[in-house]
Symmetry: C3
Subunit: 450 residues, 3 copies
C-alpha cells in the first residue's frame, strides 16, 4: 500500500513538474507539400506492420501461445518506440561523433523545424520510429514460446537503444543531417530501405537468441530430427502476411522520403519481388523438398522476397526485381532447411531465413542487379555490400552474445517447462480457469515431460 502511494505520488508529481519543462510551442517554417503527406502515410503503414507481425506470429505458433506472443508484440512496440524516440533516434541520426555515434536530437528536441535537418521534421521522426520497432519485432517471433518476459523486454530495450541505432548510424547516419559522416555510407554501402539495417539486424539478434536459449521442449526427438509442431492457424498468418505486404508499400515507397516519379516504380518492384519469391518458394518446395514445410516456406518465401527487394527496389528494373524475387525464394527455402535440419535451431516463425538470409541476399543484389553510377564497377560495389553485411553480422552477433549471456546468468532466459507446455502467462501465474481447462496438475505435467 505504501509503495503504491509512493509510486502514484511520484508519477503525478513528475507529471506536474513536466509542465514546467514544456518546450515552447513548436513552429514549422518548411513549406508543407506532397512529400509530407506521403511519408506520413507511409509511416502509418509501417506502424501497421506491427499488426502484421503479430498476426503472422500468432498464426505460426501453437494455439496456447497466441496470447503471450501478441502481448509481447505490443510491449516491444511500447518499450522500443519510447526508447528509440527519446534516445535511439539521437544515437542514429544526431550530429555524428567521428562517424561512430550520433550525439544530439535526444528527447525529440531539435527535430521539428531544424534548418540543418530534414525538411520532413517530425514526420521523418515518426517514420524512423516505425522502422526501428520493426527490427525489434523480428526478434520476438524467433524466440517465441519459451523466452521469459523480463529477458525479452531487456533485449528489446537494448536493441532499440544500442544495436539498431549504432549500426544504423554507420549506414544511414546522414539522412537527417546531410553533412553527417556515416562511414559505411561514405564508403558507398547502399541499403535503400533496410534489408540489412532493419531486417538482418533483427535476424542476427534473433539468431544468437535462439542459439543461446535452445529449442522448444520436444521440438527435436532423441535423434535430433524435428518433430512437427502444429501452427495454430496458417489462415491467420496469411492475414499477417497481407498486412505486412501492405506495410511494405510504405516501408519501401516511403523510404524515398519524397513522392516523386520513382515511388510508383519502387512499389511495383516490391510487389514483383514478393510475388516471384512466393512462386519459387512454393513450387521449389512442392517439387524438390519436404511437402510438410509447404505452407511456412510459401509464406516465408514471399516475405523473403519483400525483404530482399528492400535494399535495391529503387535501383532495379522490373526484370531485375523479378530476378531478385525468384532467387530470394530459392535462398529462403535452402536457408530454412539449413537452420532447421542442419543447424537444429528452432525458429518457430522462420524469421532467420526470411530476414537474415534474404536480407543479405537483397543487399548483395544492389551490386548484382542495380543501376550503379558509371564510376563504380559491379565487383567493387559487391565488395562494399559484402563488407556492410559482414559488419552488420559481426557487430550484432557479438553485442547480442554478450547481452544474452549476461541475461542468462542474471535473470535467466527461459520460462518454466510448465509454462512452455501450457502457454506462457505473462505475470507468471496460471489463472484458475486456465488450469481447469488444461485439466491436469503441475505434477502431471512434470510427469509428462520426463
Amino acid at each position: 500500500m505504501k509503495r503504491k502511494i509512493v509510486v502514484t505520488t511520484l508519477l503525478l508529481g513528475w507529471a506536474t513538474v513536466s509542465v514546467a519543462a514544456d518546450t515552447p510551442d513548436p513552429t514549422f517554417s518548411f513549406p508543407i507539400n506532397i512529400d509530407h503527406v506521403w511519408v506520413l502515410l507511409s509511416a502509418a503503414l509501417v506502424f501497421f506492420m506491427q499488426a502484421g507481425f503479430k498476426a503472422f506470429e500468432v498464426g505460426m505458433v501453437r494455439h496456447e501461445h497466441g496470447n503471450a506472443v501478441a502481448i509481447k508484440n505490443i510491449i516491444d512496440w511500447i518499450i522500443g518506440s519510447l526508447i528509440f524516440l527519446f534516445l535511439g533516434f539521437g544515437v542514429m541520426f544526431g550530429k555524428s561523433s567521428y562517424g561512430i555515434i550520433g550525439t544530439d536530437l535526444f528527447f525529440g528536441m531539435g527535430i521539428q523545424d531544424n534548418p540543418d535537418g530534414s525538411p520532413l521534421g517530425s514526420i521523418f521522426f515518426l517514420f524512423q520510429i516505425a522502422f526501428a520497432t520493426t527490427a525489434l519485432t523480428i526478434v520476438s517471433g524467433a524466440m517465441s514460446e519459451r523466452t521469459g518476459f523480463i529477458p525479452y523486454m531487456t533485449a528489446s530495450a537494448l536493441v532499440a537503444l544500442l544495436i539498431y541505432p549504432v549500426f544504423g548510424h554507420w549506414a544511414w547516419g546522414n539522412l537527417f543531417y546531410a553533412d553527417n559522416p556515416a562511414w559505411l555510407a561514405d564508403l558507398g554501402f547502399i541499403d535503400f530501405a533496410g534489408s540489412t539495417v532493419v531486417h538482418s539486424i533483427g535476424a542476427w539478434v534473433a539468431l544468437v537468441g535462439i542459439w543461446k536459449i535452445g529449442p522448444r521442449l520436444g521440438r527435436f526427438d532423441e535423434n535430433g530430427n524435428p518433430v512437427a509442431f502444429k501452427a495454430s492457424s496458417y489462415a491467420y498468418s496469411v492475414m499477417g502476411l497481407l498486412i505486412l505486404w501492405l506495410g511494405w508499400w510504405g516501408f519501401n515507397g516511403g523510404s524515398q522520403l519524397a513522392l516523386d516519379g520513382a515511388v510508383g516504380e519502387i512499389i511495383l518492384n516490391t510487389n514483383i519481388a514478393g510475388a516471384a519469391a512466393g512462386l519459387v518458394a512454393f513450387f521449389h518446395c512442392y517439387w524438390f523438398q519436404k511437402r510438410e514445410d509447404l505452407y511456412p516456406k510459401f509464406l516465408g518465401g514471399i516475405i523473403g522476397g519483400l525483404v530482399a527487394i528492400t535494399a535495391c527496389c529503387s535501383m532495379v528494373s522490373h526484370l531485375g526485381a523479378l530476378a531478385v524475387g525468384l532467387t530470394a525464394g530459392l535462398i529462403h527455402n535452402y536457408a530454412y532447411d539449413l537452420i532447421l535440419y542442419k543447424c537444429k535451431l528452432d525458429d518457430p516463425v522462420g524469421a532467420i531465413p526470411v530476414h537474415g538470409f534474404c536480407g543479405v541476399w537483397g543487399t548483395l543484389c544492389v551490386a548484382l542487379f542495380g543501376q550503379l553510377s558509371p564510376e563504380t564497377s559491379r565487383l567493387t560495389q559487391f565488395g562494399i555490400q559484402l563488407l556492410g553485411c559482414g559488419v552488420a553480422f559481426g557487430f550484432t552477433t557479438i553485442v547480442s552474445y554478450v547481452m544474452f549471456s549476461v541475461l542468462e546468468k542474471t535473470v535467466g532466459l527461459r520460462v518454466s517447462p510448465e509454462e512452455e507446455k501450457t502457454g506462457i502467462i505473462i505475470g507468471g501465474e496460471v489463472a484458475a480457469e486456465e488450469e481447469e481447462e488444461i485439466g491436469m496438475s503441475e505434477a502431471e505435467l512434470l510427469e509428462l515431460m520426463k
Copy 2:
C-alpha cells in the same frame, strides 16, 4: 407473401421517385489541396477503427458471443452512419439556433461547396460521420453478451440522432460554419479531437446502460465477488488494439482539418501517450494489483492513454504527452477496479475506465499540461474544462436514463437467459445445428441456471 410484395413495391417505387429528387450535379469551386487528401485519408483510418473495435470486443467477450458482437458492430455503423448523415450532422454542425442546436445541412444538402462552410466540403462530412459512429461503438462493447437487438439498435439510433450531435453542437458547433455560436466553445472549452465529445459521451451512455441492464448471469457470485469469464482471445484483441492505434493517427492527426507542421507533432504525442499509458498500466497492475487483470488492464491502459491525449495532443510538448500517458495509465487501472470491484458493474470490454475516466482526465490535461493562450490562467481553464466534462456527464446520463427506462418498460433490454448462456443469435432462433453442438435442450439449460 402480400407483405413481401408491398414492401418490394414500395421500395422500388420510392427508389424510382428518388430519381426526380436528384439534386443537380454537385459542383466544387474550392481549390483541392493537400489538406483534402490528408483529411480524406484520416477519415478512412477513423472508419477503419470500426474493425478495431470489432476485433477488440470479439477478443474480450466469451467465445460463443463473438458472432453477435461482430454483427452488432456492423449494424451500429450502418444505422448510426445513415442517421447521422441524414439528420445528426445537421443537428451538430448546422446553422445554430441560439447555440443550442443546428438547423440545416440535413440530408447532406449544402455540405459540398458551401461558401460559408468548411472548404473541405464532403470530406469534412465523411470525417465527421466516421467520428460519430465511434461513439456508438463504445456502447456496444460495454453492453455486450446480454443486450437485446432491438433495444440496442434503438439506443444506437438515439445516440446518433440526439445525444452525440447535441452535445457536439455545444462543443464543436463552429467547425463547419465558423461564425456559429457554440456555447461551450465560446466559453473557452477545448477538446481538440474528442476525449469528451466522442469518447466520454459513448462511455456515459454505456455506464447508464450497464447499470440498468445489470451484469451478465453469473458474473458476480453470491458474495458479490466477480467470477472470471474467459476472454475468447487476447491475441485477437491485440489485433483490434493495433487497428485502433493506427486509426488514432487519423483521429487526432486529421482533427487538425489540415496538413500543417503541427500534424507530425500531434501524431507523435498520440504515440507517446499510448505507449506511456500502456507501460504504467502494465507495471502498476503487475506490481500492485491483481495479476489476473494484467492483460485487460494493459490493453485498456494503452487505449486509455490514446483517449486521454485526444483532447490535448495539439497543445502539449513531448514531455507533456508523456505525463498525460503515464497518469492516464494509472487512472485507468484505478477506474477499472472502481467499476468492477467497488461498483460491481459488469463492463466486459472495460469501456468505461478507458473512454469515460481517461476521457475526462485527458480533457482536464488541456488545462494542466497544454500551451494555453497567455490571457488564460490554468485555473480558469481547468474550471472550464471541468464544466464541459460535467455537462457532458449530466446531459448524457439524464437522456440515457430516460431512454433506457423507456426501452426497459416497452421492448425490454435483455435477451433470454438461454441466449445469454449459449451465445446470442440475432434473429432470435437457435438454429438446429447450433443446438446440437451445444448438446443440451433448453430445459436442461434452464435447469443449469437455477
Copy 3:
C-alpha cells in the same frame, strides 16, 4: 537431385542474364501532384482488399478449410498480379487493334513517363493490377472447399491473361491511351469503377465454375434441400467485410484517377449504398425470409450494395445512392435464394448474388438514377447498359465453359472426397498430425461417405 540443380542453375542464370536486359533508369517528367498520392494510396487500399476477401471467405467456410482458402487467396494474387503485370495489362490498356485487344505495354514497358499515356504512369499500373486481382479472388471464394489446386490456379491465370483484360479492353480500353477505341465505351457504356468490368466478370466465371464442379459433398440432401454447413466464424467474416469496405474508399474514390471535388461525394455515395443495402438485406430476411440465412444475407447484402454503387457512384445524388443501396439489398436476398434454393448451386461465400446480380443491377442503375448527359435518354442508356451486361455475361460464361471443360477432362476439377471432408491440404498429402487429430483412417472416411 539433378532436377534440383538444373532448376537452380536455370533460375540463377536467368537472373544474371536479366541484368543485361535492364532497361535504362526510368525517368519521369510529368509533374507529381495530389492526384498521384491519392491514386497511389487508393491502389494500396484496393490491394488490401485481398486481406478482406481472405478473411471474409475464411470466416464463411467450414473451419477445416480455412487454411487452404487463405493460401489460395495469396496464390491467386501472386499468379494473377504477375500475369496481369507482364501481359494482361497490355491486353487491356495497350494500343488497340480494332477496339478488340490491346497490343503493347507488355512487361511494364512504356508505362512510366509515356507522353501519350496516363500522367499517373506506374501508379495507374499499380492501381489496375490491384483491380484485376480483385476479379480473381471472387472466383476462389465461390469454388472453395472442393476445387483442386492445379485447376484453380490455371483458371486464375486464364482470367488474368484473357477474360478480364479482353472485356476490360472493350469497356475501359481508353483509360491509358485516351484515343484508343474501346467499342463498349464508344457506344456509351458506363461502368465507373467496375460493377460489371470487375465484379460481374469474376462472378460469371465463378457461376460456370460451381455449376461444372457441383456442390460440396452433403450440401444438398436426397430431396435436394440444402443442409446447413457451419461457417467457421461470422465474426471473422465481419473483419473481412470491414477491410473490404475500407478498400472500397480506394476502389471507387481512386477510380476518379484524380483528387477533385467529386471524390468526397463518390465515397459518401459508396458508404450510403453499402449501409442502405445492409439495412434492407437484414430486415427483409428477418421479416420475410428464412432467418437461418440472416447473417450471410446481411453481410452479403452490404457487399452487394457496395458492388452496385461501384458503377454509378460518380453520377448519382445522395438520395440516388440510397435508392441504389436499398434496391441492391433486396436483389441480393432474392438472388441468394434463387441460386441456393431454386438452382441448387453451392456458392459457399455467396459470391454470385453479391458480385453478379448486384453488379448487373448497379450497372443498370447508371441509366435509372445517374445524371446523364442531356442528349441521352434514360431508355437509350438503359439499353446500352443492358447490352454491356449481356456481353459481359455471354463472353465470360462461354470462355469459362470451355476453360473449365478442358480442365475437367485433363487435370480434373475436384479434390478427393477425403480431402473435402478433412480440409484440403495443398500439396496433396495429409500430414501425420492432421490425420491423428481427425482420428479416423481413410477407409473409415470412405465408409462414412457412402
